[in-house]
Amino acid sequence: MTTTVNQMITISEQLLAQPQLANVGDLKKWFAKNEPWRYVDMGFLDTPFVLESKVDVVVNPGYDVVFRDGNWGISSNSTIEITTWTSLSSDQKGALAIALEALPIEENPFVSLSKTAVNEALVLIAKGKTDGPVRILLDATSPSFQQPVLFFWAMADSVSQVSLTVTGSAQLLNVTSYVVIEARAELSWVSGNPEGISTVWLDNSRILMGTESKFHSVQVVQDVTLFRSDVDLTFSGPNAHASLNGLAMLDGKSRAHAILQVRHIAKDCESQQLFKNILSGESVGEYNGLVRVVKGAQGTFSEQRNRNLLLSDKAHIYARPQLRIDANDVKCAHGSTTGQLSEEAVFYLATRGLSLNEARSLLVYGFGEEVLLEIRDPRLKELFEIQLKTYLNRLALADTQVSQ
C-alpha cells in the first residue's frame, strides 16, 4: 500500500489492505470474535490520522536511541552496536533471518502490518557484557500513527539490559520488537511510560530464547488511553529461564491488556509470570496468559501469578490464565486473584498509627511495589516508584472500596 505524506487515512484501511484481512469485511466484528482481542475497545480503528513527513531526530540527553515522528536517531555514545536493518551486511541479515525462522506463524494483524516498516527497523546487537542499560525513547510530537520496529540481537554469552520509555502525543503507537537471545545470553528489559499519554499503544514482542539463556522483563504502564501488550515467547533451546512481570496502574477510563503466550518447546526450561493491575475509576484491565508445553518438553517449570486490585466498583478486570500441557513430567501452576483492599490489613496498619488514607495508600503502594522490586536497575526502579506514588496521590483513597 502506498501513502503520500499528509494523507489522512485510518488504521482499518491499513489493516484491510493486508492479504491476511483483505476479505474480512467488518473488522470490528473480526476482532470481537478473536479471543485475544475480545475485550479490547477497537474504536480507534476508524479514527483518521495523518502520516507526516519524517524529520531528522535529535537524540535526547540520556538516551541511546530515539524514535520520533517516524524516524530513528542514534547516539554516538551507545555501549552496544546500534544500526538499521538496511545497514546490516548480507551475512548479518541472513543470520538474523535464520534465527527468526523459529518464530511461530504470526496471528496479530498489527504485527503483520508492521512488516511494512521493517526496512526502517532499528537493530541492536549485544556482544559481551554491556555496562548499563541501552536507553530507548519512543516519542511523537503530534497526534499521528507511529510504527517503530526494532530487532534486539543478544549474541551468545552476552549480558545486556534495555530500558524503553514511551512518551509524546502519538495517536496510535504500534511497536514491534523482535528479540533473539542466543545461547547463554542474558537480557533484562524494562519498559513503560513515565507520564500519562493519550495514546493507543500496541506493544508487540516476539522473543526467541536459546539454550541456557535468560530473559527478565518488567513493564509498567499508567494513565494511557489504551494499552495492549502482546508477548509471544518461545523456548527454542533447553535450560533457559524467562521471568515476565507487569504492573498497570489505571484510573479514569484507561485500559490495559496483557496478552501473553509462552511456548515451552524445549526441555527443562522455566517461565515465571507476575502481572498485577491496580484499577480505579472506570478503568479496564486484562490478563490473558497462555502457557503451552508441547510433547517432549519434559522438565518444564511454569508459574503464572495474576493479581488484581479493584479500587472502585466501576473498574473491571478480565483474567484468564491458561495452561495447555502435552508433556507428562512438568510442574505448572497458575493462579489469579481479584479483590479489594483488605479491611484487616487496613486495620493492622491503623493500629500502628497510620491514618485510614495512609494505610490504604501504603497497601496499594505495597501491592504495586512487589512488581517494581523486580527492576534491577536502581535508577529505573526509583523512577517507577515515583510514578506509583504520583498515581496514589491522584486517587481519592478516602473513598476507596474496602472488602469486609
Binding site: 493500629t351 500502628r352 498509627g353
Partner: protein
C-alpha cells in the same frame, strides 16, 4: 500507681451476637496482667475492641485509657496515644519494606506528639537498639512486612514493632501460640526488658507456660464474656491443674 486502663461493664457484640457481657478490669502502670479463658470466651474480642476493630460494636459500658474515653479515638489515634496490640495472626503486607514501615509507624507517633520525625539515619540507630531488645535478626529489616515469615517470625516481628513504638499499654493477643519453648523464652525476655514503672502489659493466653517466664501481677479468667475470677499468678497454676470447667456456669 497511675491507672492506665479502666474497663467498666463493657458490653460488645459482633453482627448482633453479644460476646462481652459486662467486663470489668483495671490495669495500673508497672503491672502485667494475664487474661486467660477457654476458647470463645471473648479474650481476642476484648483485645480487638480496645484497639478499635471496626467489626465490633460497643453496646454498653466504658473504657478509659490514661484518663480519656478510649472510644472517642480512631484506631490510629489510640496507637499514637500509646496503645499497642500484638496480633494473634499478624497480617502480611507484601511490597512494604519492614524497616520503612517501622519508621513510618515510629514517625506517626512522633508527629502526633508534635515532635520532629526521625530521618532514616537517626531511625537506623534507634532501630539497632530495638532489634537487640526484641532479639530479632537484621534480616527482618530487608523483608516485606510479615511476608514469607514463619508463624514464630511473625510473632517476633510483633515484638519488634512493640519495641520500636514503646507503647504505654501493650496487649499481646496469644503471642505464645505457635511458638516453641525457646521462642517463648525469647519473647518473654524481650517483654521483661521493656517492662518499666510507667508502662503496662496485658497478656492474653490459653496456657500457663508463658507465665513461667513472665510473672503476672494479676490474672483474670474470662468465661462467656465476663471476668469470673481474678487472682495472682497462683490462679494460673490452679487453671493449669484443674482446667476451666470448674469456672464455667453450671449446666441446667
Amino acid at each position: 500507681m497511675k491507672t492506665i486502663l479502666e474497663i467498666r461493664d463493657l458490653h460488645v457484640s459482633i453482627d448482633g451476637t453479644p460476646i462481652l457481657k459486662g467486663v470489668n478490669l483495671t490495669v495500673k502502670a508497672g503491672e502485667i496482667h494475664a487474661i486467660m479463658g477457654p476458647n470463645g470466651s471473648g479474650k481476642s474480642t476484648l483485645a480487638k475492641v480496645l484497639s478499635g476493630h471496626p467489626s465490633y460494636e460497643v453496646t454498653g459500658g466504658e473504657v478509659t485509657f490514661c484518663g480519656q474515653n478510649l472510644f472517642d479515638f480512631d484506631p490510629n489515634e489510640r496507637a499514637t496515644a500509646g496503645l499497642f496490640m500484638a496480633f494473634q495472626y499478624p497480617v502480611e503486607i507484601p511490597g512494604v519494606n519492614n524497616a520503612s514501615f517501622l519508621r513510618m509507624a515510629f514517625n506517626a507517633k512522633r508527629k502526633a506528639a508534635g515532635q520532629p520525625e526521625a530521618d532514616p539515619f537517626e531511625f537506623e540507630k534507634i532501630l539497632e537498639a530495638r532489634l537487640d531488645i526484641a532479639r530479632a535478626p537484621r534480616s527482618f529489616l530487608e523483608r516485606s512486612v510479615n511476608q514469607g515469615f514463619s508463624g514464630g517470625e511473625k510473632k517476633k516481628n510483633e515484638i519488634l514493632q512493640m519495641a520500636v513504638l514503646d507503647p504505654i499499654l501493650s496487649i499481646l493477643d496469644e503471642t505464645d501460640s505457635g511458638l516453641d519453648i525457646d521462642a517463648i523464652r525469647v519473647a518473654s525476655d524481650a517483654i521483661n526488658d521493656l517492662k518499666r514503672n510507667d508502662n503496662a502489659f496485658v497478656l492474653i493466653t490459653h496456657y500457663q507456660r508463658l507465665l513461667n517466664y513472665i510473672t503476672p501481677d494479676v490474672v483474670h479468667v474470662l468465661v462467656d464474656g465476663v471476668v469470673v475470677r481474678t487472682g495472682d499468678k497462683t490462679l494460673a497454676l490452679e487453671l493449669e491443674e484443674k482446667g476451666y470447667d470448674w469456672l464455667l456456669p453450671a449446666r441446667v
